[in-house]
Amino acid sequence: MEEKEIRIGVFICHCGTNIGGSVDVPAVVEYAKHLPNVVHAERNLYTCADDGLTAIKNAIKQHKLNRVIVASCTPRTHEPLFRSTCEEAGLNKYLFEFVNIREHCSWVHMKDTEGATEKTKELVRMGVARATLLEPQEEMKIDVEQSAMVIGGGIAGITAAKTLANQGFDVYLVEKEAVLGGMLRNLYRLFPTGEDSLDSLQPSIAAVEGHEKIKVFSSCELKEVKGYIGNFDVTLLREGKEVNFKVGTIIVATGAMEFEPKGHYGYGKYDHVITQMQLEKLLKDGQLKKSDSVVMIQCVGAKGEEVSYCSRICCMVAIKNAMLIKEINPDADIHILHNDIQAYGAEYEELYNKAREMGIRFIKYTPESPPCVTMDGEKLKVEVYNELFGEQFMLGTDLVVLSTPLVQHQGGVEISKLLRVPLGKDKFFFEAHVKLRPVDFATDGIFLCGTAHGPAEVAESVSQALAAASGAGIPLSRGFVQIEAISVKVDLEACIGCGFCVEMCPYQALDMVDGKLEIIEALCKGCGTCVATCPTGALEQRHYQNNQIISQIKSIFHPVIE
C-alpha cells in the first residue's frame, strides 16, 4: 500500500489532574493541530479508559488516520493497550507513537506549569517527527517443528523427554553411551530416601524406551546442529552412519563427571584411598571388606583447590555412604573431616542430625592446614588439626574416602561448541540469567537442565528437567514463534563485510557467510547495539531507525519546516 499522504492523529491525555494539573492541555492540542501532517488532535480526560480508546478508534476511521500519537503516561505500562486498540481499528500497531508527558513532564515540573507546557509541546513535536517516519511492520511468525531433541540420557534427559512426549510432542533422545541412566547407573542408594539407585530408575527408563513418541538414539554422537528456534536441523553419527532430523527445540542434559583427585591425599599412591563413587561401587557389589575405621575427607579439589566452586552434593553423598557403612558395621569408627557441611534444606539437615546420632563424628579442618594422609606400616594414618577443638588429631584408619566435586566433561565442552552456547568460568553451561532464566540459554529455543547446569542431586535435576521441558514445550504447543518487529535488517549493497557487528551480538543472530552478513531474525532480540557499530549504516533496526531517532533530536531545537 503506497503511502500517499501521512495523516497523523494526536490524543493528549489529562489523566485527571495528573497532567492537566500542571500542563495547559488545550494549548498543547491547539499547538499540535498546526504541526505538519497532523490532521486531527483532541484531548481526553483518561485516554486509557474505555471512552478514550473508542475515541481513538472512531478518529482513525473518521479521519482515515495512518499514524496515531498518544501523549499520556509511560509506555512501559500502557503501550500494549494502545497498540492493540490501533490494531482493532485496522491500523498496523507499529504506526503508533507513545509520548510520555506524565512521569517525564507533568509530575516532575508540577510548579513550573509554563515550563511544563512548553516542554509538552516540544515532546509532542518530537513524537510527530518520529511518527512521520514510522513504517508498518509485520511481526515475523516462524513455524516451529513439532518435535524436540534431548541430548543426554541421564535422569534429567529421561525426565525431560518423558514430560514432553506425554504432552504429545515427538522427542529424539540422544545418548552417547549404549544404555540410558547416566550417573545413577553406578550409584548404590540415593539420599534422602535411601531408594536403590538403579531400581528406582528402571520405571523411567522403561517409560522412555516404550514411549511411541520418543525415539532413543543410544551410543551415538552429535555431529552438527544448524538453524534456529523452530528449525534446528540435526546430524547424528551412529555407528559411522549419519542420521538427520529437524527439531523445534533442544534440551541439553549432558550431565557431569566426578573429579579424579590425582595427587590429593595419597590417591593413586595408597590403594585404600578411594573416591565416593568407588565406595558406592564397593557397597553396591557388597565388597566393602575392612571398614572398622573410615575417614572421609570433604572438598577434595573443590572450593578453590582445583575448581573454585562448592559442589553442593558431596557432603550429603558422604553422610549417606557413612550411614550405609554404619548399617553394615555398627561399631565402625567413622570420622568426616569437613570444611562446613552443606546439609541445606529440611531433609538434609535431618539426615545430618541422624548421622551424628549414629555416632559418626565430624571434625572441621581449616583449608590452610588440610589433613594429611600417610601410610603407617599396614594401616593408613590421617593427621588433621581440629580447628574448633584446637588440637592435632591422629586417626589410624582402614579406609580413606575422598569426596570430590562434579566437573564438566569433554563431551559437554564439545556440545557447547556445536550448539554455540557459552560455558561459564566453572566450565558448566552458562544459562541466560542466573536468577530468572535458570534453564534457558541466551539463544532462544535451546534449554538446559541437570548436572550440565551445575552440581545437583536427583530431585533438583528432575525439577530442572521439568522446567526445561516447559520452556521447550511452549514454542511447540503454540506452533509458531512471534518476534517483536524491532529486529535488525541489512542493506546488502551497503554492507562491506567488515564483521564489526558480529562481535556485538551476544545471541549469535549475525553470521558472516563468505563476506556477506546473514541475519537469523528469530534470534535477534532487538537491542540495536550492532546497528550503532555499523560504519556504513548498512544495518538498520526496525521501529528504531537512525532517521527516526535523528528526527526526534532535530525536532527538539527547531520546529520541523511545514
Partner: protein
C-alpha cells in the same frame, strides 16, 4: 554410667559446635579456662579421662542458660550432673566451700537415726500443726541461719514470714520437727546414694503427716521434689512454691498484701525461673503490694543471671565477679533486690560484704517483703 552413655542420654552427639552455649555462659565470660562447648567436645572426641579430671565441670552453676539456648537441645545441665557422678566414682570432686560443712550436714541428715530439734525458731505467735492438709517444708533454713548469721543473713526470717503469712490467711501449716534437707546439692554433685536415702526419708515423713499439699519457700527444694524425687520415690501430694500459692490467693481475692512505698527489683532464681518456668507468680504478688515499684533488671526472666555459685562448690573469684556484676545491674534498677531463694540471698549478701567497694543494695527475701508489706512485721 560411662561417658558414651552420658553422650547418648543427653543427646550430646547433636552438638553442632556452634558455640552458643559458651557465648551465653556467665562463667565462660569471666573464666577463660571454662567452656561448655569444649567440655562436650571432649566427651564426643573420647577424652574421657581429661573430662572427668577437669575441675571445670564443678564450676558450672547448672543455671540452664546454655541448655535453654542450645539449638540442638543438648541437655548440658544433665550432662554435667552425670559427669560429676562419674567423676565422683573415680575419686575426683569439686572444691567444697566452707570446709565442706554443708555437704557434711546434708549427709548427716541422710542418716535415719538422726532426731533433729529444729523448731527452735517457732515462737508462740507462729501457729503450726502436727497433722493437716497443708505442709510447709523449710529445708535447710535453720542451718543456714546458724552458718550465715555473721554476714547479716537471717534465713529463718523467711520461715517465720512464711508461717505468719499462712496464719494470716487462716492456715496453720504442718512444719515437721524432723524434716531433712531435700538433698538438692547431693543430687547435683553426683552423690546419688545419699540422695536416695534423703528422698525416701522426707517423703515418708510427709506421708506421715497426711499432708495433701506441700509449700516450699526454697526453689531448690521445690525443683528437687518436683523433678528429681520421682526417679526414686512416688509422691501423692501436690507441690507448690509460696509465690504460686499466694498468686492463686490473689485470683481468689482472699488476700490483701497491704502497701509499701519502695522501689524493688526481682532476681529470678535459676531453679524457679529457667528450671521450672515460674516467672510471673512472684511478680504478680510483688506488684499487688500498693505503692511498690517493681523495676526489671537488664537481665531478667528467661535471661536472668545466676547468683554466682551452686551446690556450695567451686566458689572462686570468678563467682565473685559474676555476683558483683549482678549487684551492679540490680543497683541500676532499684535500691532493694528481692530474692526468692535463700541461697541467692546468702551468695549475693556475701559478695556485698567483700572488700572492694560496691554500691549498697538492700537484699530482702520475697516472703519477708510480703510479710512486712502485710504489716506482720518481723517481731520474733
Amino acid at each position: 554410667m560411662s561417658l558414651e552413655n552420658i553422650v547418648n542420654e543427653t543427646k550430646a552427639y547433636y552438638c553442632l559446635e556452634c558455640g552458643k552455649c559458651t557465648g551465653s555462659c556467665p562463667i565462660s565470660r569471666v573464666n577463660k579456662g571454662y567452656s561448655p562447648r569444649l567440655t562436650v567436645e571432649k566427651a564426643l572426641l573420647g577424652f574421657d579421662k581429661e573430662l572427668l579430671a577437669d575441675g571445670g565441670i564443678w564450676s558450672c552453676m547448672t543455671c540452664n542458660l546454655c541448655k535453654d539456648r542450645c539449638p540442638s537441645n543438648v541437655d548440658y545441665t544433665k550432662f554435667i550432673r552425670y559427669a560429676r557422678a562419674e567423676a565422683l566414682k573415680t575419686g575426683y570432686t569439686g572444691n567444697c566451700t566452707h570446709g565442706g560443712v554443708l555437704s557434711s550436714l546434708m549427709r548427716i541428715m541422710g542418716n535415719p537415726n538422726l532426731k533433729q530439734d529444729r523448731l527452735g525458731w517457732v515462737s508462740d505467735n507462729l501457729k503450726i500443726s502436727e497433722k493437716g492438709d497443708i505442709l510447709y517444708f523449710t529445708g535447710c533454713l535453720p542451718y543456714f541461719e546458724t552458718l550465715f548469721k555473721d554476714i547479716g543473713v537471717n534465713s529463718l526470717d523467711i520461715a517465720r514470714s512464711t508461717v505468719k503469712i499462712l496464719n494470716r490467711i487462716g492456715i496453720k501449716p504442718v512444719v515437721m520437727p524432723d524434716e531433712r534437707c531435700c538433698g538438692h546439692d547431693l543430687f547435683w554433685t553426683g552423690d546419688l546414694e545419699n540422695f536416695e536415702k534423703i528422698a525416701k526419708l522426707n517423703v515418708g515423713l510427709i506421708r506421715g503427716t497426711g499432708a495433701k499439699k506441700v509449700i516450699f519457700s526454697c526453689p531448690e527444694c521445690y525443683r528437687t521434689f518436683k523433678q528429681d524425687y520421682s526417679e526414686y520415690v512416688d509422691m501423692d501430694f501436690e507441690l507448690v512454691h509460696i509465690s504460686e500459692f499466694l498468686a492463686e490467693k490473689i485470683d481468689e481475692g482472699k488476700i490483701d498484701f497491704g502497701s509499701l512505698e519502695e522501689d524493688v527489683t526481682y532476681q529470678d532464681p535459676c531453679r524457679l525461673g529457667r528450671h521450672l518456668g515460674v516467672y510471673d507468680p512472684p511478680r504478680k504478688v510483688i506488684s499487688s503490694i500498693q505503692g511498690i515499684g517493681l523495676i526489671e533488671m537488664e537481665h531478667s526472666r528467661e535471661r536472668s543471671i545466676c547468683c554466682g555459685t551452686s551446690t556450695w562448690t567451686n566458689c572462686d573469684r570468678f563467682s565473685e565477679q559474676i555476683q558483683k556484676e549482678r549487684l551492679k545491674e540490680a543497683k541500676a534498677a532499684a535500691d532493694t533486690l528481692i530474692t526468692a531463694c535463700p541461697k541467692c540471698q546468702i551468695h549475693l549478701s556475701c559478695a556485698m560484704k567483700s572488700k572492694t567497694p560496691i554500691d549498697e543494695v538492700k537484699i530482702k527475701d520475697f516472703s519477708v517483703l510480703v510479710a512486712s508489706a502485710m504489716g506482720l512485721g518481723d517481731d520474733p
